[in-house]
């Protein structure tokens, strides 16, 4: 709740403790790739990932680089480029503690945290093996129904940190995310939010409704770092498209451990020797 800090990318990566429970945005929503790269170079360790509700190359890189202790997600995939290779390999090798969920359950559990609630009900899911393997989820009868009406209750998920990229932050720490509201929920639900931005906005993002409508207030933003093209090779909303050729090459190359190591080296993503 203290004033938003403005730091550089490495300092921002340094604010994320090893072992943190960290919320990641989905591939269509402001993926903080430059920050991810900085975390890999650091390297961060034992992250517990929450994909909101899915992830792609961001989670795959962190898993492949050995930065991840566990993952909760509805899916990890590279979309049209195919499976996420390091995720798939880690699961099959039994190297990754994985908690399978489903998209609306992750959204709803974050909304529970946003509202300071211990739990949130959710329709659907009954009869799914996801539920069978989630001892932390409960089923109860809807107390407002006259006949038995089972409904799932999800405990709130409160991440330690939400990370995402955005087009602008202003000097008060307000961050403009446009229509990507899942980032708003993440920032509300998480204890802290670390954000990279394309540029500093010279003015007050909350001053007029046009921009305020898509702005996360600074009260939820702990630290901001500049990272131009900070979503690359993912895209950023109206600003730039995903680098499909790069993503396709990664999806292919990272199928083997050697290929993945070569990708890290070629992209300067190996742990730095100086820290």
């Amino acid at each position: 709740m203290t004033a938003t800090q403005f730091v550089d990318l490495e300092q921002l990566a340094g604010q994320l403790p090893d072992g943190a429970f960290i919320a990641l945005p989905p591939d269509y929503s402001n993926v903080p790739m430059a920050l991810t790269h900085a975390l890999m170079r650091r390297p961060v360790r034992d992250l517990r990932l929450l994909c909101v509700p899915t992830s792609g190359i961001q989670a795959d890189l962190l898993i492949g680089a050995g930065c991840v202790a566990s993952v909760e997600c509805a899916a990890i995939s590279m979309g049209e480029q195919g499976p996420a290779p390091r995720f798939t390999a880690a699961v099959v090798a039994g190297r990754l503690k994985l908690v399978d969920s489903t998209c609306p359950a992750i959204h709803a559990a974050l909304q529970a945290a946003e509202k300071g609630l211990p739990f949130m009900p959710l329709r659907g899911i009954l009869g799914s093996d996801i539920l069978r393997h989630r001892p932390d989820w409960k089923v109860m009868d809807n107390p407002f129904a006259d006949t038995p009406d089972p409904i799932v209750l999800l405990p709130a998920i409160r991440p330690d940190v939400a990370v995402f990229h955005a087009r602008w932050a202003d000097r008060q720490g307000n961050v403009w995310i446009g229509r990507r509201r899942e980032l708003m929920t993440m920032a509300h639900a998480a204890r802290r939010s670390l954000v990279t931005v394309e540029a500093i906005f010279d003015g007050d993002l909350l001053a007029e409704d046009e921009l305020a409508a898509g702005t996360i207030p600074g009260i939820y933003v702990d630290a901001v770092a500049l990272a131009p093209r900070g979503a690359w090779p993912m895209g950023l909303a109206d600003l730039y498209a995903p680098d499909v050729a790069h993503l396709a090459a990664y999806a292919k190359q990272a199928r083997t451990d050697e290929g993945f190591r070569a990708y890290l080296a070629a992209n300067h993503l190996e742990p730095s020797l100086v820290d």
Partner: protein, 247 residues
């Protein structure tokens, strides 16, 4: 390519578009180019009465409340149809998007269940679509139920499976009997081939009709307007099938 001949993808798009007839709002997941094209075709044929939301699209995705809006919208009853696939699908329409093996120790891992465990139960007309038609996919019993085909009485379930479309055939699903019935086999294939490649039991009429091919005016629409609309979200697919680059 003349409108007398059609590609396999165009046939599948036409089959799926027919299943959307009369739906007011259809949503299509990311990474689903054939369903996406079918939805856009259905919209064009409906003269705008059908609304289409293509997730992952900037131009065809109307949502402004973040990733949860699709799910909330479905629960409000505002989404009439949705497509789901599956790494495995069984004869009771259970689908598996998680993997093969003894969960959690899997031999093969799929991406994950996405929103299937929810949307399959809330969207009235869920159309199962899987191009690969093999005993690897269509199994007697899925290894992992990402989303169940049917539910016990008393479970809140306004939605569920409506049909299954594959590279070989189209099946209808009977929710009460918990069984698929072969509805048509695509041109170039026959019922015996379908039976040989399907690992679960299903009903089959004595004479199985051939799947109706796409009429020329549909092909014209597909290759023109729809291909252009599709290129924004599925550039790889649009360029491979229709030779269109994103606008």
């Amino acid at each position: 390519m003349s409108t007398e001949t059609w590609r396999r993808e165009e046939l599948l798009i036409a089959v799926l578009a027919r299943l959307l007839d009369g739906v007011e709002h259809v949503a299509v997941g990311a990474s689903s180019p054939i369903p996406g094209a079918a939805a856009l075709l259905a919209r064009a044929l409906s003269k705008g009465a059908t609304r289409v939301s293509v997730l992952g699209s900037r131009r065809h995705n109307p949502f402004t409340e973040g990733g949860r809006e699709l799910f909330d919208c479905a629960a409000q009853g505002r989404i009439g149809a949705f497509f789901l696939g599956g790494g495995e699908i069984d004869g009771e329409a259970n689908i598996n998007l998680v993997g093969m093996g003894d969960y959690p120790r899997l031999d093969v891992r799929f991406p994950g269940s996405f929103g299937s465990a929810y949307l399959y139960m809330l969207v009235p007309r869920v159309i199962l679509f899987r191009e690969e038609h093999s005993r690897r996919v269509f199994v007697p019993r899925v290894n992992f139920i990402s989303a169940p085909g049917t539910s016990e009485p008393g479970v809140y379930r306004p939605g569920g499976p409506h049909a299954l479309v594959t590279g070989l055939a189209k099946f209808d699903f009977d929710r009460a009997r918990r069984r698929f019935a072969l509805a048509s086999v695509h041109p170039g294939h026959d019922a015996a081939e379908v039976a040989a490649e399907t690992g679960f039991d299903y009903d089959s009429p004595a004479a199985v009709p051939a799947t109706e091919p796409p009429p020329p005016e549909w092909l014209e629409l597909l290759r023109g307007r729809i291909a252009g609309e599709l290129a924004e979200t599925y550039p790889k697919f649009a360029s491979a099938v229709f030779g269109k680059a994103a606008a």
